[in-house]
Each structure stands twice: as structure tokens, then as C-alpha cells.
């Protein structure tokens, strides 16, 4: 190539990079630093590279070719929890979550992972999570592991010590999964109890439906109690949030297309999800397909139909509830609070249950450290954040911690164990608590 050709090629490369990294939005960061005090990793480390402002500065430098996509850049981008608390704090309206996804996309395109990591990722992200049948098999395996005595053996034999510390710790928090028989019983439609108000679809999620099948069931019954016909939408798959957060936008978009098609064929007007993280992704599909002539409009229609469970229930008349004798506190799901701006509704719903004594958790909207698979990939920081969170939780003297996202729920369970609070406190999903009251 001639010098000119090389220059043009590298210029095209930079332009491409700028687009992937949303350069225009990067420029909107005016570096005021208001995000610093909202950022969990900055608060723990005090380092600018672990702050939103610092990360955006590094993104800007990478986008313009001033900084390489180095190992340090890679680890700094993945050191972020992606909790988006900085978006709430940012007066300038910088869409940090989008910037982070773009930066991770660039990292994934430019950095080679070790073979083993690539295999695990490939299997988990492409062969497992998006495929309902295989997830079903996983749930059977998990059921067998938990009920056959294998788990007891694994824990008592010290086999767990062979696992990385992070996996072993989180394994303890995995709930008892539902039996294959219980799964088979699920009907395609659950009619409204009493006066019917509307028909809704239920987005069951991937991990959610394996680990928290019962919570999905409770959500459906709860919606029914609030006067909804509930349809389990056929052909749905994983929302793609995990993929997008891991920089695999292509796979995320594939999954999104499948969900949009399933939604279009279902004829449903309103689609309910009960996981803050999934919900935030489902509501951002139109950004994923921005400028795509075939998909942008379809994605917009899909997005318009999305409701978080709390968001919908708060608009419906509350059915008769029985009194529950709990002292309850609520841990926000980051992607529900910062991503979807849904904060009041879950608090109001909890407080609508008679007998409940509600106590607000200080800094409830500060990330618990779960953050997708962050508690596995950045175990030490995750646990440092969790331990700080548990001190505040313990201070509320609640005996029930309510969450709105499966990841947060697992993390809070792990936190209760780490803090030695098992006898005094449980963590539950808000759907389970509400269902207990209307049951």
C-alpha cells in the first residue's frame, strides 16, 4: 500500500472505532466529576481509572488512537460494574451504559482471550443461555445435583475447594431449583382472577427461569391476581443483556431479533418482565438497531410494549392482601433504578401489604456488587462492595431483604451468608413477597 492508502485505511479504522464507541456521546462528558461520588468502584479504590470520568477519558483516547486497546484498558473496562449509578448522577446526560458497551465491543474485537476463556464463553453465551432446551437440561442437572446428595458430598468432601473461590462462594447462594415435574406443569396461559383488566405476555428470561422458576410462576399468579390474563410468550429467548455487557453486540442483536419476532407473532400488547437487568436491555433494543432500516421500527414497537412487573402493577388496583408480619427493606436493582428509573413503584407495592413494617435501606440504589457475572469475574471487588452493603442492610434490622433482579437476589443471599445473618434474615424477590400476600 502507498502511504496515502495506509493513511486512508487507518483513518477509516479510527472512524469505525469512533462510531462503535459512540464518540459524539463521549464528547458530552464535560469531566465535572459529579459521577465520582456515585461510582462504587471509585469509592472503593479512589482511583480515577476506576471512575466513570476516567473510563470515558480512556475511551476517548482509544477512539482517537491516542491510547492502545491494552490489557490495562481491557481490565479497566471490565472493572466497571455497569451499574449506571453515574447516569443518574450525571447532569450532562451522558449515556454511560451505552458507552461502556461500545468500549467492551472494541475490547473484544481487538484482544485475544486465552483459549479456555473463549471456549467457556462460547459454550455459555452461545450454546447454553440462548437455547431454551439446553437451559432446561441445565435445570435438570442442577436439580439432580441438589437433590441426589451430590451437593452434600461436594460440600463435605472439600471438592468445592477445587473450584475458584468465587464459584464456591456463589454456589452456596444458588437456590433449590424447581423439579422437572413442576416445570412440565406450566400451562401456556394463566387466566385473570376476578375482573379481567388486560392480557399480558410474560418474559421468563434464561437464567431466571432456571434458578428462579418459582419466582416466575409467582409473577404469573401475581399478575393474574391483579386481573391479567398471562401468556407465556412462545419462541422467546435470552434478552441479550449479558452478551451486550460482555461486548458481544452481534450475538445480543441476534437474540433481540428472535425476541422481537416472537413478540410480533404473539399478538400481545404488553410484555412483562420481572428482572431489572433484562428489562433495561429489552427497553434499549431500539438503540441497538439504530439506523437499521429493517429492524429499527420493529424494535421501537417492541420497546413500547415492555413493562417491568413493578411498573405495571403500580398502575392496577391492589387486590385484597393478607397481613404479613415482616420488617422489610428494599435493595434497588441498578438497572431497574438507574437504567429504567423505576424506584417508587416497588416501594409502594411493598408498603401496600398490610402488616409490613418498611424500613428504607441507606444508599439502597448503590450496587450490591452482583452486576451480571461481575461477582465471578471480579470476585474480590464484588465481595468488598457486598460487605459494605451488608453492614447497611444489617443496620436496618430487617428480617426480609427484597430485590427485583435475579443477580441481586443471589448476591444478597451470598451476602447474608457471609455476614452470618442466616438466622435473622432472608432475601426474596419482590414477586415472591407480593404473591405471598395475595395467595
Amino acid at each position: 500500500m502507498s502511504t496515502q492508502q495506509v493513511e486512508t485505511a487507518s483513518q477509516n479504522g479510527i472512524l469505525q472505532m469512533m462510531e462503535t464507541m459512540h464518540y459524539d456521546d463521549i464528547l458530552n462528558c464535560m469531566r465535572c466529576g459529579f459521577c465520582l461520588s456515585a461510582c462504587p468502584t471509585y469509592r472503593e479504590t479512589g482511583r480515577e481509572t476506576a471512575s466513570p470520568r476516567g473510563r470515558i477519558a480512556m475511551m476517548k483516547a482509544v477512539a482517537t488512537g491516542q491510547l492502545d486497546v491494552s490489557e490495562k484498558f481491557d481490565s479497566d473496562m471490565y472493572f466497571c460494574l455497569g451499574c449506571r449509578a453515574c447516569e443518574t448522577a450525571c447532569p450532562a446526560g451522558v449515556p454511560y451504559g451505552t458507552l461502556l458497551e461500545g468500549a467492551r465491543e472494541v475490547v473484544e474485537e481487538n484482544r485475544k482471550r486465552p483459549l479456555i476463556t473463549r471456549i467457556i464463553r462460547h459454550v455459555a453465551m452461545k450454546k447454553l443461555i440462548p437455547q431454551a432446551k439446553r437451559m432446561e437440561q441445565v435445570s435438570r442437572l442442577l436439580y439432580f445435583y441438589q437433590r441426589s446428595g451430590l451437593r452434600r458430598l461436594a460440600r463435605s468432601s472439600g471438592l468445592m475447594k477445587l473450584l475458584p473461590k468465587s464459584m464456591a462462594e456463589m454456589e452456596k447462594a444458588v437456590p433449590e431449583v424447581a423439579s422437572p415435574a413442576a416445570r412440565k406443569e406450566r400451562k401456556r396461559m394463566l387466566p385473570a382472577k376476578g375482573e379481567k383488566r388486560l392480557t399480558v405476555g410474560l418474559f421468563t428470561g434464561c437464567v431466571m427461569d432456571v434458578m428462579f422458576f418459582d419466582t416466575n410462576e409467582a409473577t404469573a399468579k401475581l399478575l393474574s391476581a391483579f386481573g391479567c390474563d398471562v401468556v407465556y410468550m412462545e419462541g422467546q429467548t435470552c434478552c441479550g443483556a449479558l452478551h451486550a455487557h460482555a461486548g458481544d453486540k452481534q450475538e445480543a442483536k441476534q437474540l433481540a431479533k428472535q425476541n422481537i419476532e416472537a413478540f410480533e407473532q404473539s399478538g400481545i400488547d404488553v410484555l412483562i418482565n420481572n428482572a431489572g437487568g433484562c428489562g433495561a436491555a429489552l427497553k434499549e433494543y431500539h438503540h441497538w438497531f439504530h439506523g437499521d432500516p429493517e429492524w429499527e421500527e420493529r424494535a421501537e414497537r417492541f420497546v413500547a410494549a415492555q413493562r417491568d412487573m413493578n411498573e405495571l402493577l403500580a398502575t392496577l388496583p391492589v387486590p385484597k392482601m393478607r397481613s404479613l408480619p415482616y420488617r422489610v427493606t428494599y435493595q434497588d436493582s441498578c438497572h431497574l433504578a438507574h437504567g429504567q428509573k423505576i424506584r417508587l413503584q416497588p416501594r409502594e407495592l411493598i408498603q401496600s401489604i398490610p402488616g409490613i413494617e418498611y424500613v428504607e435501606l441507606p444508599e439502597a440504589d448503590r450496587c450490591c456488587g452482583s452486576a451480571g457475572i461481575y461477582n465471578l469475574t471480579n470476585f474480590d471487588m464484588s465481595m468488598q462492595i457486598l460487605d459494605g452493603k451488608m453492614k447497611q442492610v444489617e443496620g436496618t434490622k430487617a428480617n426480609l431483604v427484597v430485590t427485583s433482579n435475579p443477580g441481586c437476589l443471589l448476591q444478597m443471599r451470598a451476602g447474608i451468608q457471609r455476614a452470618g445473618l442466616e438466622g435473622q434474615m432472608r432475601a426474596v424477590h419482590i414477586a415472591d413477597l407480593l404473591y405471598e400476600a395475595v395467595e
Binding site: 459524539d24 464528547l27 458530552n28 462528558c29 464535560m30 469531566r31 465535572c32 466529576g33 459529579f34 465520582l36 461520588s37 479512589g46 482511583r47 480515577e48 481509572t49 471512575s51 476516567g54 477519558a57 480512556m58 483516547a61 488512537g65 491516542q66 491510547l67 492502545d68 491494552s70 490495562k72 484498558f73 479497566d76 450525571c90 447532569p91 450532562a92 446526560g93
Partner: protein, 494 residues
């Protein structure tokens, strides 16, 4: 890059975790909150004690390495941009409140304490530390001291220098200096405390400070007055002061600012109004009540369309919080937001506001104005795009004219942000050549090697500067270069 031997020595002082010298780390400490300025340091160090700071400075003095000390980097004068490279000394790890002395009404703290954190701790004891810069939830007290930060309560309570009674600081030779102390009366020798407050990191690294506290006012009320036009609100400000009322806070927002703040904070500001005043009075309840009534009357007489008093302290706090977002919220309008800090004697406020509008029109640039009306401290803020070089040039010309206008009205080039790099070309306008010479001699005496925050305060070249007064029209000879002469503007490691 630091020399390997130096890096090794610094690691031995602070521990290997706290010396950061990758390109990524250096980049993350190459800027502060000032747009258009960026420059790479050679390394970053995060000391935990004054002894470590002293040891670091001794190494730097021996090696001739430049030092830029900093906290959260929220300043708006490019005061912490390492324009000549060297070592950035980050003081955020030194973040302990050493003592709150309720008998002497003082607080002693390390430089990395977040300003709002000190507020909360002293207020728990019924005490009050008034300086409250807009960025107080982020900014460190060390940074406030270095820049002599002001804030929303400046009108009644003054700025940082009015509260700092004593300092511990590390001099450019690595010696530890103590100045002042807890004695309310202390006139022994030169006032080195006052000299260091506002010295912008050019004389020493501040490692501890003792501040005066006052009793927490027993009550507080907040009021919002809406005006159709700018001049009405400015007249109201002048009248309130003329009537001998000194409110704790009197903040001014023009229409453009009202809109963006409301867009972010959603607290029901009147987006169709030309300007609003946010007024707060504190003190004994009866006095507060009387002052609020009187100020409401004055506002109405000067054309306020609506005057409303916050129903609860929470509602009032929300209003004031919203005001703190003004600058950053303006960034929603365009990629680059350049804020200035022109200040005039408060009686000239209306004239200054008018002038800003005339100048913005003349240069065809988009300027919103908000600020601390009560103390005459305005923040004309320009929404622009750093990629549009031609427009940036016009923005700089406009700001130059705004400074000149402020000086002509008997004001100053910075009310609370400091000079840094952003305004070093204009310092002589305010202090005169003699003032510059005295300041330079002080700098030379304390820091003969010029290692402490070089390239700040004093413009490098001997450009002819505008001559003010003498009846002659202001003469501007040198165009204000992009980045105010920061020649390494935006240079970063490749």
C-alpha cells in the same frame, strides 16, 4: 516516563500499589473539569501520610521533577492539569477528619476529605462550615483551599480563606511547614496561612488544615422569585442589598439555564421565565421570616411575576441542589461547555448581565448566564463544540471582552475558581504589573526551582496586555490563543 530509579524510590515510599505509571493511569490524571485542557504527567502517586508527601517532594526536588498536587480534579481553571508533565500527587487517600473541637469551634482535617462530608460531620454537632462550592459533593477540602473556593453562601459568609486558621504543608524543598493554629487572634509575622490559601498548588502541598467553625443557624427558608426579564431580577438583587438585607444565598439563573436544569432535576422550575432568583436566608426564625417577607416584597416591586417560598427544608434543599447542577446540565445542549467566573461589585450586576448578552450577540455565540448574584459572581457559560475551531476562537474573543467588561465595572477575572491556566493571561489586568512582580518574587523565594505546579498563574510570554483606565479605550493587541497559550493542549501519549 519516570526514570526507573525514581519510580523505584517512589514505590519504596508509598508502596507499589500507590505509584501508577501506565499510559492509562497517566491519561486519567491528565485533565481536570476544565474543557480544552489536557496534558500527560509522567507518573501518578497517591501518598497516605504527610511524611510520605515530604519524602516524595524531596525526591522530586533532587531530580527536578515537576509536581502537581490534586484532589478530585473538579476545578475549573485547569489548575491541576500537569502542563509540564512530572508527577501528579493525588491526595484523596489522606481523607480523615482529625478532630472537631467543639470548645474552640475548629475542625482539623486532611486535604482529601470531601467538602460535603465535613459539612455533615460538623452539622451533626450543631456547627457550621459555610464554604459550599457547587461541586461540594465531589471536591476535596485541600482543593478548596488551594483554589480558595467560594460557593452559594459567599454573600453572607465569605469564601474559604475566611475560615482557614492554620495549615500544615510540604514546601518545595520537602520541609514541613506549620502556619497559624487554633488561636482566634494571631498576628505573629506574615500571614503565611492566607498566602497559601488560593496559591493554587504553586507554593506548597497542603497536607492538613484547621478551619474555623461557627454555630449552625437555627433555621433556614428558601424562596423562588420568577422574572420575565433579566434586568428585573438584577435590579431586585441590587435593591435587596441596598435595603441592608444580607441573605445567605441569592442565586441567579437565566432562561437557558432554567430550562436545562429543569430538564435534569424536574422540580417544576418556570421554564418560560426570563430569569429566576433562588434566595435563602438563615438565622433566628423571626429574623428569617422578616427578611423573606421583605425580600419577597422587593422582588414583586421590581417586577417578579411570582414569588414562592419553599414549604419545607427538604423542598428548599432540592431547589439549591438543582442549582448546583446548572453547569453540568448545560452540557446537555452541546458537546463543549466553557464556564467563566467574572465577578463585579454587586451593585453593578445588572450592567454586567446586560454586557454579557451584548457581547454574546456581537460574537454570535451561545452564552447562558447563572451565578451567585448576591456576591456579584457570574458564571457566563458558553455552549460550543471543541471541534469547531473557528467558533472556539470567537468564544475566546467573547470571553476576553467579558473579562474586560468585568474589570471596567470594578470587578475581577475570577471570583472563586482561581487563575490556573485558564485565566493567567488576564491576571495582570486585575493585579497590575507590580502585583505580578510581587507574586513572582514570592514564588521565586519559596520555589526557586519552579517545581510546584509550573505553568499556572503567570503567563509565560511577555505579551502586551490591555491597559485599563486612563480614559483610553481598552486596547487588545494579542489574540487569545486557543487554550490560553497552553501549547500542549490535548496532547496525549500515542
Amino acid at each position: 516516563m519516570l526514570k526507573p530509579q525514581v519510580a523505584k524510590e517512589l514505590k519504596a515510599i508509598v508502596g507499589s500499589n500507590w505509584l501508577l505509571d501506565t499510559p492509562e493511569d497517566c491519561l486519567a490524571y491528565s485533565y481536570d473539569a476544565t474543557p480544552l485542557y489536557q496534558s500527560m504527567p509522567d507518573g501518578v502517586v497517591m501518598p497516605g501520610t504527610v511524611e510520605e508527601v515530604a519524602a516524595i517532594v524531596k525526591v522530586c526536588a533532587r531530580e527536578g521533577i515537576k509536581i502537581v498536587s490534586r484532589g478530585s480534579g473538579s476545578n475549573l481553571s485547569a489548575g491541576t492539569v500537569p502542563v509540564e508533565g512530572g508527577l501528579v500527587v493525588v491526595l484523596t487517600r489522606m481523607n480523615q477528619i482529625v478532630e472537631i473541637d467543639s470548645d474552640n469551634l475548629t475542625a482539623t482535617f486532611e486535604p482529601g476529605v470531601i467538602t460535603a462530608h465535613l459539612h455533615r460531620e460538623v452539622e451533626k454537632l450543631g456547627l457550621f462550615y459555610p464554604p459550599d462550592p457547587g461541586s461540594m459533593n465531589v471536591s476535596t477540602l485541600g482543593g478548596n483551599i488551594a483554589e480558595c473556593a467560594g460557593g452559594l453562601r459567599g454573600l453572607k459568609y465569605g469564601v474559604t480563606k475566611d475560615y482557614i486558621m492554620g495549615l500544615q504543608a510540604v514546601l518545595p524543598n520537602g520541609e514541613i511547614l506549620r502556619t497559624g493554629g487554633k488561636s482566634a487572634k494571631d498576628v505573629a509575622g506574615y500571614d503565611l496561612t492566607k498566602l497559601l490559601v488560593g496559591s493554587e498548588g504553586t507554593l506548597a502541598v497542603i497536607t492538613e488544615a484547621t478551619a474555623k467553625l461557627i454555630p449552625l443557624p437555627e433555621s433556614k427558608r428558601t424562596m423562588l422569585a420568577s422574572f420575565r426579564d433579566l434586568t428585573g431580577s438584577a435590579r431586585a438583587v441590587s435593591r435587596i442589598i441596598a435595603e441592608r438585607i444580607i441573605p445567605a444565598t441569592m442565586e441567579f439563573l437565566d432562561n437557558g439555564t432554567i430550562r436545562v436544569v429543569e430538564d435534569f432535576a424536574r422540580i417544576g422550575l418556570p421554564v418560560d421565565m426570563g430569569a429566576i432568583l433562588m434566595i435563602e436566608q438563615d438565622g433566628p426564625e423571626s429574623v428569617v421570616e422578616r427578611d423573606i417577607q421583605r425580600m419577597a416584597d422587593i422582588c414583586r416591586k421590581e417586577g417578579a411575576v411570582e414569588v414562592s417560598v419553599a414549604n419545607s427544608p427538604e423542598e428548599g434543599a432540592k431547589l439549591m441542589q438543582a442549582r448546583r447542577f446548572a453547569l453540568s446540565a448545560l452540557a446537555r445542549i452541546s458537546p463543549t461547555t466553557i464556564l467563566e467566573d467574572a465577578t463585579v461589585p454587586r451593585a453593578r450586576l445588572a450592567e454586567m448581565v446586560e454586557q454579557v448578552n451584548v457581547i454574546a450577540k456581537k460574537y454570535g455565540v451561545n452564552i447562558c448566564t447563572f451565578g451567585h448574584a448576591g456576591d456579584g459572581n457570574l458564571h457566563p457559560t458558553c455552549m460550543t463544540d471543541e471541534r469547531d475551531k473557528e467558533e472556539i476562537h470567537r468564544v475566546e474573543q467573547a470571553f476576553e471582552e467579558i473579562f474586560l467588561a468585568a474589570i471596567k465595572l470594578g470587578g475581577t477575572i475570577t471570583g472563586e475558581h482561581g487563575v490556573g491556566m485558564a485565566k493567567m493571561n488576564y491576571l495582570s489586568l486585575k493585579v497590575g504589573e507590580t502585583g505580578i512582580e510581587v507574586m513572582k518574587s514570592l514564588k521565586q523565594a519559596i520555589d526557586p526551582q519552579n517545581i510546584m505546579n509550573p505553568g499556572k498563574l503567570f503567563a509565560k510570554d511577555t505579551r502586551r496586555r490591555v491597559v485599563i483606565g486612563g480614559g483610553a479605550a481598552a486596547e487588545q493587541s494579542v489574540s487569545h490563543q486557543h487554550g490560553n497559550g497552553c501549547e500542549c493542549n490535548e496532547h496525549t501519549a500515542g
